[in-house]
Symmetry: C2
Subunit: 105 residues, 2 copies
DNA sequence: TTTGGTAGTCATATTTTTGTGACTAATTGA
DNA sequence: TCAATTAGTCACAAAAATATGACTACCAAA
């Protein structure tokens, strides 16, 4: 049987997974915000020019799924949700720096 | 006037340009092939599982536009076109290595 | 002169990503 | 109790990326 799955192309490129995880219109910006400090849904919505609920929600969910962000409920004052860089996320910072250096060229 | 352009979101993220250039289903694989040596249209089509003319053509054109690949006509034997890593492309190799390291996690 | 290899383009279709606007639901302050 | 803020979801629409199949054009060997 020649059953073909949707995922039928072997990546062949080890960097592709990470590139995929960082791809998309909003993820890099969200990531950079998270480097500055804990990040919240509505703040991102306000701070990122042109952003919309849906896309931010999707991006946050995926960044969490990939293990780059941790999601935690802060049971205090206004009671809210914070997204912070996970260890994996933190270890990605130097990679980002390198990408930035490159983008200047 | 609140004229809004299609491109209305300031990047805000310096790494985003490069990430965009490396994004897409085929570019990373093509790049890696190019690291091994000069690359040709039909060879890529054969070597990359699931690839199709159109997508490879688009990816090659964009990689060339971004200045990561150089396109040159080889006026010899079969007369063909070669894509080779530009200097900028070569300087991207260590970045890729770092991305690869990361993808293992 | 037909076949096969080179490297594509083009119009169209399908798929994926992103955006819009309405809606939910809990908490909090006035 | 009313209004605002919190953080979303949901159905759907629009836009962008990717895929398909036909077609072009050049060169060389059989």
């Amino acid at each position: 049987m020649t059953t073909k799955k949707v995922e039928d192309t072997a990546p062949d490129c080890p960097a592709q997974g990470l590139l995929k995880q960082l791809s998309g219109k909003w993820k890099p910006q969200i990531f950079l915000h998270a480097v500055e400090g804990p990040v919240r849904f509505n703040s991102l919505l306000r701070d990122i020019n042109g952003a919309n609920k849906q896309s931010i929600a999707v991006a946050l969910r995926e960044l969490e799924e990939f293990g780059l962000l941790d999601k935690n409920v802060v049971t205090q004052k206004p009671l809210h949700i914070e997204y912070t860089l996970s260890d994996k996320g933190k270890s990605l910072i130097p990679v980002f720096r390198q990408l930035e250096l490159f983008s200047d060229k």
